[in-house]
Symmetry: none
């Protein structure tokens, strides 16, 4: 099945925003066997959008449009679809009821302009939007279908999952592709490629590929079979062997994150955690509480940005900071120990470092130098990380948190490591 | 002048990478008066790319292609341009010399496959690539021009600046576009559309459009003038009037964030801040420390996730929590006051709420209910926010932080508001 993805918005054609929706939709469609032949982006102009919709609907079985369903005059996707199909726009009572209900739930009165969002091209169905006022639009004509979703990613994604994906699965019947993704941390892509080189030959089934993104290495596996069972079995055999070779370097599958894996382990073992952060400024605590129900394991976090806060809240000796500096192994150690004492948690993670871009003093303390501490009932361990000053502030803070979570993960799994980082 | 931007790569149509080149090129072309009518992305298939190039070269005066100029078999842009123009590929001696010279500089021998990169469609010129092995391609036919650049952003950008931009400036002889973006918080898109309805008529110059993303409303303005000065003047007149109508709803321009604006105000006024968070779990502190140099205003942050931490670290009375609950106006007030006392900062922000998806007890305390506290030398103010349970946990935490920053921003600007939220 061929698909064309159209995104609509002058903010895209003028370069004020990057279109991420098309890539996201492609990443969802490709694994289920849909061939995305084209992405097209046009501005908020009916005259531009109409021929693009017509051409796409002729060339592909599946057309997905994102954007242009808002309540203002520059939201023209409804008009363009109607014009492309040669039908009028009609007010849809069901859509209007949904929009009104949303405003009632928000305890606000509906502005008159939102009424525009209930105008639907005749012959099209309404796709409910559980998260916003813009209903989606669906048209099915024989083996061809067209969907229009709002441009806001969170709204578009939930509506896509509720409609297109199940319909594709139903249409495919005996879908013959099975896919999986293993997630690794603490290994380079080149090293991963060496370990898995025999798996990565072109034309092999399953096909195995690796990608690196923000220090997470993904091993993607795609198996084709005559039946779903055959595809799954082929896939599983490879996954088992890859896991065997990589060991604890693999931390999860699919959409797992290091913090989610750590959270699961803490809950499983009925353990609690507290955090003491300097350069990450709250990011470590934020990630540990990204998960609903995190109060089961997360007790408290200290963001001790100023040195005085490290001394006062964590009991880090002032002369330790003056002797070794706030970015040092002893400081990370003292922060972790002091945090554990104050919070009464089973584990504490501490991070102190230089996230940059300013504040570095090479060669001893360059931007990207980070110390991580992990305190537990058996003592304290530390890790020195040199992120490299080619990374941005955001990336250095991200890597610091990931490395801290991985240290705790290995400890929770009972993997031994020497004290020196 | 109309332009079409084509990006080529199966990694784009399968969603493994997001195309950022098209947005970048648009952001460069729009301010010099080029109207980018379409972005098109296709995979590494000659049969797909050829008709796209033909159509673009008919529809627009300027066609820019990125990607597909590498040395491997799946790099098909050279072939596709030749096929679209109906000319053969010929080896270009100058291009080959440049490629060889690059390998000599790297002290490596040139692999035979790189020779493919010197194959240029007959009648086209070579654009030197100072950073990599892929030369660019240029074709000028009357008032139409076509450029092909490598997909690696750093290479593409330097080649674009060396060729397209100076040629456009020379060709334009004046007419230009000026653009700006105002950022608003605390208003709905529909309301914004009503206030600015007379500005948003189609065909108006400047053209004014609005977009909403994660509770931030953007007002984009694009002015066309016979000269850069005229465009800027037209733009400025509209921007001034829009700012006048919207008042303090406008918090910034361009790529501003609420936290960056708050940080600037704190630095300007030599004030400090500390944070006390429950449901946002560190996100508030994280955002305040996203900026290098944040130690000038950020003292410390408390992530008091457990009730015991609120009592112990912030001095929130235990019986206040048992009487009103941890998610209540008195709790937010006590957290802010206690944090200010402990941290000795000029301002403190506190957040307590139910980020969900679990933990709500409607109707009194549904998911999405958040209380924000702001303590300062004149006392304490609170705000009750009902985010709505259609939002995700991430979104509720995001909105909570933005609302808190906005509350502080208005305070720092001296905008009066009543105590009740």
């Amino acid at each position: 099945m061929d698909a064309v993805i159209i995104s609509c918005g002058t903010e895209l054609t003028t370069g004020q925003c990057v279109d991420t929706n098309s890539a996201w939709l492609s990443s969802q469609l490709t694994p289920v066997g849909v061939h995305v032949v084209e992405h097209v982006t046009v501005g908020d102009e009916v005259a531009q959008l109409v021929p693009v919709i017509r051409r796409a609907f002729e060339a592909a079985n599946l057309v997905i449009i994102t954007g242009g369903l808002g309540p203002t005059l520059d939201d023209i996707t409804r008009e363009a679809i109607a014009a492309a199909l040669g039908v009028p726009l009609v007010e849809n009572a069901g859509a209007l009821t949904q929009i009104r209900a949303l405003f009632e739930r928000w305890q606000r009165s509906m502005p008159e302009s939102n009424r525009r969002q209930a105008m639907i091209p005749r012959g099209c169905e309404v796709i409910p939007n559980p998260r916003g006022t813009a209903p989606g639009i669906r048209l099915i004509q024989g083996d061809r279908s067209l969907y229009a979703f709002p441009g806001i990613p969170a709204e578009m994604q939930v509506m896509f999952h509720a409609t297109v994906l199940p319909e594709l699965h139903a249409a495919a019947g005996g879908a013959t592709i099975a896919s999986a993704r293993l997630l690794c941390f603490g290994i380079s892509e080149a090293k991963l490629g060496e370990i898995l080189s025999d798996f990565m030959q072109r034309g092999r089934n399953p096909s195995i590929g690796t990608t690196a993104s923000q220090a997470i290495l993904s091993v993607r596996a795609l198996a084709e079979g005559a039946s779903p069972e055959e595809a799954r079995e082929l896939l599983q055999a490879d996954i088992n062997e890859i896991r065997r070779r990589l060991g604890t370097v693999v931390f999860g599958e699919g959409d797992d994150t290091l913090e989610a894996v750590v959270a699961r382990l803490l809950i499983e073992k009925h353990k609690t955690i507290a955090t003491a952060e300097s350069c990450t400024g709250g990011l470590l605590a934020k990630r540990l509480t990204d998960i609903s129900g995190s109060s089961a394991y997360f007790l408290r976090g200290y963001v001790t940005y100023a040195d005085a806060a490290k001394v006062e809240l964590l009991g880090v000796p002032a002369n330790l900071i003056s002797r070794h500096g706030a970015v040092s192994e002893p400081a990370a150690e003292a922060m972790a120990i002091g945090c554990r004492l104050a919070a009464g948690s089973d584990y504490t993670l501490s991070i102190t470092g230089i996230a940059g871009p300013s504040g570095g003093s090479p060669p001893e303390k360059p931007v990207g130098l980070v110390y991580i501490g992990l305190a537990h009932s058996a003592g304290v361990e530390t890790l020195r990380v040199l992120c490299g000053d080619h990374l941005t502030r955001d990336e250095i803070r991200d890597r610091s948190c990931k490395t801290a979570f991985n240290l705790l993960r290995l400890r929770l799994l009972g993997v031994e490591r020497s004290k020196a980082g």
